[in-house]
Structures are given as structure tokens and as C-alpha cells.
Symmetry: C5
Subunit: 254 residues, 5 copies
């Protein structure tokens, strides 16, 4: 559960609403046709930009990524030291029995390839391709949110232009100019809000999460290769410790 995302969305939106209410009622800031053009137009542009399946599928992926529990890298390193120790003492086939206990699919695949006796180069190729394409799929999710965050202000400006043209063409009643222009500005307001306190930071969070997940997979890849090459468990630990900041490095050997 990603508490920061929810906290951020709730606090940013309530602050905006609060600051609106300090100056006027909320009613002045709600306008159905304005909302329709910004929300609908942004979705339309995004649907031209991405295949339908991706737009739907990625929102699901996005949710999964946000709510996913991130793996503990120090624990992962500890398991690898364990695997390496057993592989050294009892031979690499001794790891076969552990594979079924492993939850993470990527780690399981890596161990299986090692036990199957593939060359380290071939293992690296397979796992690296998998990491690259996991990264590409995550990037797609972030890109779709980024696209939403790019089109929302653009559609907001289109809505404001429509409102301005309509206002300018019927300026008979001076007292209606102010309110008409206020309504015209609402679409820009909606577009800015959607982009800056929803879509763009969400795209950023997805990118961040993807980096973390890819880093965990890089640790797994390096651990697997180290075992496949028959590295000393101390060396394996040294290699994997390079991925984490010094204060998270707990050695199994001291």
C-alpha cells in the first residue's frame, strides 16, 4: 500500500477546495460542459495515441504497481548468500528443491535455468531480455499517464478559446462579460488540476516504482549469475551489496 500517493492526492485536492471555499462557494467552479470537454477530449486524444487495450490494461497495471509491496533487497541478498553457500557445499542441483518455495517468478525462472546447467551467458541473455521488456511495459504505463497530463491542459486551452470566442461575439451586455470569461477559464483550471495534481505526478510515481522493481530484478540477475559462475558466497555478497546504500548492508559473515 502506497500511503504517500493517497495522502498526496487527498491533501492537494482538499487544499485547493479549501482555498476556493475561502473566497467563494464551490458552485462557481463546477460547470458540466467545461468538465465534459476537458475530460472527454483528453480521453479521446489519449485513445488516438494508444491502443484501446493498452489504455484499459495499463490503468490496471498502474494500480497493481502502486499497491504492490516492494521487495526487501537486504532479505533478497541474504537468500542469495544462502543459495550460494548450499550450491558450493552440496552442488548446484541442491537448489532444485528450493525452487518451488520461491514466490517471485523471475527469481524462480533464474534458479531453474541455473539448475538446468545453462551457460551464464545464455542465462544473462534470457533474464536481461525479460528485464528490458518488463521495463518497456512499465514505461508504457507511465507514458500513458504522461500523455494524459500533456493533453489535459491542451484541451483546457481549447475549451477556454471556445468560451472566449463565444463571449467576444456577443458583448452587448457588459455585465455578462465577467461571468462568461470566468466560465471560459474553468476549462483551463480543470486541465491544470488534472495534469498537475493527478496525471503528471502519477506518471512520476510509476516511473519511480518501475526503477525500484528493475533494480530488484538486477540484483536477482547478478545473484543468479554469481551462483552460475560458482562465486564464493562472500564475493557474491560483496557484489550484491553494491546495489544498496551502505547503511542497509548487513553481512552474513561478520
Amino acid at each position: 500500500m502506497d500511503i504517500a500517493t493517497i495522502l498526496g492526492v487527498v491533501s492537494a485536492f482538499s487544499l485547493v477546495l479549501l482555498s476556493i471555499m475561502m473566497g467563494s462557494g464551490l458552485g462557481a467552479f463546477f460547470n458540466a460542459p467545461s468538465l465534459m470537454i476537458v475530460v472527454g477530449g483528453t480521453l479521446g486524444a489519449t485513445m488516438i495515441n494508444y491502443p484501446l487495450g493498452d489504455v484499459i490494461g495499463v490503468i490496471r497495471v498502474g494500480m497493481k504497481v502502486i499497491f504492490a509491496k516492494s521487495s526487501s533487497v537486504p532479505e533478497l541478498i541474504a537468500s542469495f548468500v544462502d543459495f550460494a553457500t548450499r550450491a558450493r557445499r552440496e552442488g548446484i542441483l541442491a537448489l532444485e528443491s528450493s525452487i518451488s518455495e520461491v514466490n517471485d517468478e523471475f527469481l524462480r525462472k533464474g534458479l531453474q535455468l541455473t539448475v538446468d546447467g545453462l551457460e551464464p551467458v545464455a542465462i544473462e541473455e534470457i533474464l536481461q531480455t525479460e528485464i528490458d521488456y518488463v521495463e518497456a511495459r512499465h514505461k508504457l504505463g507511465a507514458d500513458i499517464f504522461q500523455t494524459l497530463g500533456t493533453f489535459a491542459p491542451a484541451l483546457g486551452m481549447i475549451g477556454t478559446l471556445i468560451g472566449l470566442v463565444q463571449m467576444l461575439q456577443s458583448m452587448d451586455d457588459p455585465s455578462s462579460i465577467g461571468p462568461s470569461m470566468a466560465v471560459a477559464l474553468l476549462t483551463t483550471f480543470y486541465g491544470s488540476m488534472m495534469a498537475n495534481i493527478l496525471f503528471l505526478p502519477m506518471a512520476g510515481k510509476l516511473r519511480k516504482r518501475s526503477q525500484e522493481e528493475v533494480m530488484v530484478k538486477e540484483v536477482v540477475l547478478n545473484g543468479i549469475l554469481s551462483i552460475a559462475k560458482g562465486d564464493n558466497p562472500r564475493i557474491l555478497e560483496q557484489k550484491l551489496h553494491s546495489f544498496v546504500p551502505p547503511n542497509q548492508r548487513k553481512s552474513a559473515f561478520s
Copy 2:
């Protein structure tokens, strides 16, 4: 057939039209000289930017890419497992008879090079160059749409500047200021519309489609190399499965 593109264009444009009609007639938003300067100027700038043949040819390519049926990667992997199994059992020349049944030109070329007995390194060089230049040609299509989407708002702003200068120079009749300025803003409106709900998302879709097609070609390249190197079909399947998400991996061996 790419349903999302058509759905997106239709829905975005109808929403804009609908929201215009809720406030005024559509007539106020149609102005021939404004349309002329934005559409004509944008095409003119794009024709300076790209060779004439490319502009015409790429629109055709764009249509083909959008309406193209995307290949099924899982099916492709299944065929490769099949090819690899036969190559192992009956020798690589046994694949010769299958070549004529293959529809995809790239796959056919790869199989032919393999049957001809070229070194994997040479096969990789030839096919990778082909992938690079297919990518470059696709990129050109997306770039032209991106360029259209960059010049359209610029020409819109030029049109608005012309309208503003003309309005400011003859401000004798105050009642004409509003309508003159409304007309001046129309070019900015046209430019924004064309860029944001046509050209820019189309460029995005072309980029996305190109990525998909290149990914399919990467799968073919890796499959061909795996066969040329005489990989075990299980290993080949493992390698190719790395390109697809876990839920699309159906093994032929379990």
C-alpha cells in the same frame, strides 16, 4: 483495424462540437481565411521540412500501420518451437519446405539465410540492419505527424497576430472590437485542435505501432539466431518468452 483511433477522433471532435453548440451556433467557429492560413501554412512549413515524396508516401505508410493487424507473438513463438523441433530432428535443411508457406517477408528472409548456412553473426548483422531501417522509416512517419503538430499551433498564433494587428489599427468602431478579436482567436483555436486531437496523438500512435512491430521483429531475430545456433527447443522457448508478459506465456512442453 484500429478501433481506438477512430473512436478517439470521432469522440473528441463531437465533444468539441457539442460543447460549442451548447453555447452558440457552429457558424461563429467557421472562417475560411483563418482555416486557409492554418491548414495551408502548416502544410507549407511541413513541405519545407520534408521531401515531397516523404510527406505523401508517409501518410500512406501511416494508414497501413494503423490498419495493420498486429501479429500474435505467442503464435509466433509456437511456430518457432515447431521450427526448432524439426530442425533438431531432421536437420536444418528440413525447414526449406516451410519457407514458402511463411507469409511474413522478414521471417522468410531469416529462415532462408539460416537454411543457406550463413554464420549466426552474419545473419544477425543482416537482420539487425533491416530492423534498424524499418524503425527509421516508421520514425519518419511519426516525425512528420509530430512536425505537423508543432507547426499547426505556430501558424495559428501567426494568424491571430495578423488579426490582432488589423483590429488594433482600426479601432474606430468599439462594437466591432469583440467580433474582430473573436475571429483573430479562431486561427489559434484551429491550430490547437489540429495539433492536439489529430496530429500529436496520431504521431504517438505511429510510434507505439512501430515499437510493437519492431518487438515482433526482435522476437523473429532471436528465434532465427536460436535455430541457427542449434539451440534446444525448450531453451528457444525460454528465450522468446522473455519478450512477452508472464500471462501470455504458454509453454509447448508442459
Copy 3:
């Protein structure tokens, strides 16, 4: 001769002039001091940005690139198949007599190095460095136009700011406000025009032409290397065909 560039410049400018004349006379859009500050200031900023020799020399290069006839890659491939066939049949020295008939300097240098018996690795190093620096020199041309297209609107805005400050400081006569502001906007108009229907698309065309020329040189490099390595002419043709789209591939062997 690049017909699209000329067609684009002429059509874009005439459309702008036409649309101006539909609303007012052209006279209102001509203002010598405004033109002076935008054109002169843009050139000044570009001269700070680039050495004088480059600014002058590159415009010449730019013209040459635009008016240059692009090479026919399919014809080039046919010559290479020819070279390779003769080199195979009569030995690599048989190509010596052909060198003097070759017009293209890059191809001539490549053939000479091959006939001189240099190692393929050394040939690749020399020719690749040459391609890299041809690319760098072309890039400089495109960059200078891009820089002109960046400073022109900036200088336009500076001119408008000057006009606005002067107008705001002497607002005694309300009837002069409109025309003064119209004049102030002219520099922004000039800057936008110069950038969007001259400098920026010209920069794009130079980039495009450079890509084409570099691609031709890559074909030459690959053909030379293939001959130097003694490749079978069919293989050489396969390698070079990877650079062109399928519909331009005409084999000499079928």
C-alpha cells in the same frame, strides 16, 4: 533540385500575404525599425553563438545540400554486386581500374583502401570516422538554422516589449493606443514568421538530407567491408538490401 522546399516557402508566404490582404492592406504589416530589430538582432545573437566562418560557410553548405541530387541506393547496390563479382572472379586488384571511373569521393577512397589491401578493421575505422565527421558538419548546418529559429521569436518578443513600454509611457491620446500596440506586435509577428515558415523547417530539411546522405555512406561502408572480407556477391546483396524498403529491392540473381 528540391522542389518541395521552394513550393513550401512560396505557398506558405503567399498564403500569409493573401490572408493579410483579405483583411487590410499590406502596408500596415511593414515597419522598418521592427524588421531591423528582429532580423539584425537574430543575426547578432547567432554570430555570438557561432564562429563567423561557420555562419557564412554553412549557408553555402545548406544550399548545396538542398540542391544536391540524392544518390540512387538501388543503383549503388547494383554496382557493388558488380564489384564483388569481379573481385571474386579476377581478384581484388581487378577493381583498381574501376576506381578512376567512380565519381563519388567516399566510394573511391573506400575502394582504394581495399585494393591497397588494408585490414577490414582498419578500413572500417577510417571510413566510420569520415562518416562521423560528415555527420557533424551537416549537423552544424542544421544547428545554425535551429539557432536562428530560436532567437528570431525571442528578438520578436524583445521588440514587442520595447513597443509596449513606449506605448504605456505616453498614453495621453487614447486613439493612438491601438495603432501603437499594433506596431509593437509586428516584431513578434516577424519573429514567428521567420522561425516557423523559414528557419525551423529549413533546419528540419537539412537534418533529413543529412540522414539520407549518411545512410548512403553506410551502404558504401558495408559494401566495401563486404568486398574486403571476400563475401559472396549474393550475401553482399542481401546485406545491402537491408538498408532499403522491400519494394526497392531488385536482386541481380533472380
Copy 4:
């Protein structure tokens, strides 16, 4: 202690305050709801964009980086010449006694791996991974400040839009238009100030500091490898001198 950062913040802010006080009182520039929406909204958007722990932790890292004393590279090179000389004379194990005297953790780890007799390739792999991930952690700090600097003006504009809409909807009293609009502009002012004289230059400083620290680590990596390969101390000095400008190169051998 980084005197420039403090000097810059203090001088930039005092100049702004001074220039405000030359025209009016400071009071007109303080508005609690405006401050609330910009500061709170920016923090909210950043919290959506980054995990909570990172936002808190990175500010701490940022402070540490800014106040950290930068290492003296010439002194570091001198120590390496010393290490190399002793390793050559007394054997690599002679360095073991020096390890405990070394303060820098990265250098200590490198020396330990060398004394342990690892292959240079393995040492490089471990230390390079560590450098890459130190760089990634530093980059995260700079990215968070950059994100703050991107959202602050956006939230400023949202606040101004709210103020404008409220002002336009109640324009009964013309004398209140000016002050209302002044208040509406304050959020844009706050957003610009926070971004341009706090967040964005801080992000730049963090990037700069990170580059320096990574460069020091690159010197250490190259020194360690040079010792592990048994390079002549003069060669080692030549290699490490390449990292510093000529005027900072003091040879131990001349």
C-alpha cells in the same frame, strides 16, 4: 560548508524583498491562503510523485551533500602513488595494514578487494555497480528538487486561475478589481520564487555535487585497478592525473 548556496539564497531573497519595499510595504505580498495552496499543493503533488520515505530521506541526503567537504583529488592521487609504491616494493599484502587507516568507505572496500586477490575484472564490476547506484541515489535527490521546482509554478498558476474566476464572477464593485487581481497574481509570484530561487538551483547544486563525488570515486576505481594490475607507480600517476586539470597535477616523481 557550501558558502555559495547560503550566500545565493540570502542575497536573492533580500534583493527581492528590498525591491518590493522600494515600491510598497511587504504586507501586500503576504497572503495566507495563497501561500497555503502553493506550498501545500506542491508538496501534495510531490508526495504523489515520490514515495514518502524518499521525500523525507532525500532532503536529509541533500543537506549532507551540500554541507559535505569535497575530497582533494590531488591528495588522493598522492596516496595512490604511495600505495602503488609500497605494493610494488613489499607486495600487495603490505597494503592490508593501511586499510584500517583509510576513512573513505569506498576506498577501503576497493583496497580490501585488492588485498583479497580478486581479479581486476571482478573488482571493477563490484565498484562500478556501487558507483552507478550511488549516482542513482544522488540523482533521486536532484530529481525531487526538480519536481518541486516544476510543480510550484503549476500550482501558482492554478491558484491564480482560482482567484481570476472568483474576481470575474463578482465584478460589481470596479474598485475591488485591482486588489482582487493583485491577490490572484500572488500565487504565481510564490510559485515562481520557490521554483527559481530555491528548488531549481538547489536541484542544480545537487547534480553538480553528485558529479564531483562520482568523479572522486572514478579516480579511486582507476587507482585500485591500476594497483590490482600491478602498474608502475609513474603510470598510475599519469592515469590519475588525466582526471584533473593540468594546473592541479603535482607529480611525485619530478
Copy 5:
């Protein structure tokens, strides 16, 4: 001496001053507090962004780069052909006597390493690191000017916002609105001027000069390596000619 820079600065500034004087006196465009906030604020933000020593030191480096005489690459190639010929005829140690006559420090270092008999791979490593860090130091200079050019318009906008807020809060006297707004716009004018006809083109010139210097160093690196490998002087000349355009290639052998 770089005549274009001085010519550009002088001509751009005089054109702006001239066009101001054609419309009003220069006095209206001078305002001490406005100048103070833009110049001081920009320097402040840059001092937060970069260490104090770098800001001061780099301006000195910038001057040196701009006034530096660029090396003649064709002359450099001729010397290398000379070195290579002597090295071939009299052995590599014959170059020792020439080292003291060489002015360029980088070339001298390269020759010394060659005469010392280092492996080409080690020479390349040392010289390439030096090129990389020369490039990094040059880039820092360009980056600081780019940063100045980014913060100047931002501070200009902050100054204008301050002026607008103060004007809007005291609109009692309508006749003072124009002049107040004129003053408010001055900071934007200053920021635009400083950025577009000083800082940004200076940054561009520094980048250009750095490229040239790095290219000269790449020629030296390739020449040194060619001598160290014992290349035939004709081959060495061919290799180095790849760096210059065809019309600057004068062979010593024809």
C-alpha cells in the same frame, strides 16, 4: 581573437538601442531597482546552483576559450606524418628529441607515453580519460552560461509580477497605470535581453569551441595511437584526413 562574438554583441545591442531611440528616449528604459532584481537575482540563483569557485573560475575559462587561437588541423596532420616517417626510419626513440619542441601539452604527453613504450591500449585509456575530463570542464562553462540564461527571464518575470501586484493594489490614479505597468515590464525586458543576446548565445559559442578543441584532441589521440602501433605514414595520413572536410586534405605523398 573571436571577432564574431564581439561583432555580434556590439551589433545586437546597438540595434536594440537604436530602435529604442527611434521611438523614445533611452531614459525610459533605465530603472535601477529593476536592474538590481534581475541582475542580482540571476547571480544569486546561479550561485545556489554552482559552487562559488566554479562560477568565478569558469568565466575566466570562458574568456580564454573565446580568445584562444584554434589549432590548424591540416598543420597538425602534417606534423604527425613527419613524426611517423621518422619513427619508421629511425625508431620510436628518435621522437624523444622532438618532444621538447612541442607546444601543446596534450600532444607532448601523448608522445612521451609513446616513447616510454606503453601499450597502445594504455595510451588510449590515459588520453581518452583526459579528453573526457577536458570536455566535462568545458561543458561546465557552457552550462553556467546556460543557467544564467535560464534564470534571467525567470527573475525578469518575478520582477514584473512584483510591479503588477503593486500597480493593481493602488489604482486610484488612472493616469499612473500606464507608466507603472511600463516599469513593471522593464524587468521582463532586461531578463530577455540578458538571456537572448548575451548568456544563451555565449553558452552556444562555448559549446562550439569545446567541440572544436575536443576534435583537435581526437586527431592527436588517433595520430599518437597510429604511431604507437607502427602504422605506415600513408595510412596514418588517411586516418587523420577522415577528420577534416575533403577540401582541407593536402596529402604529403602526392
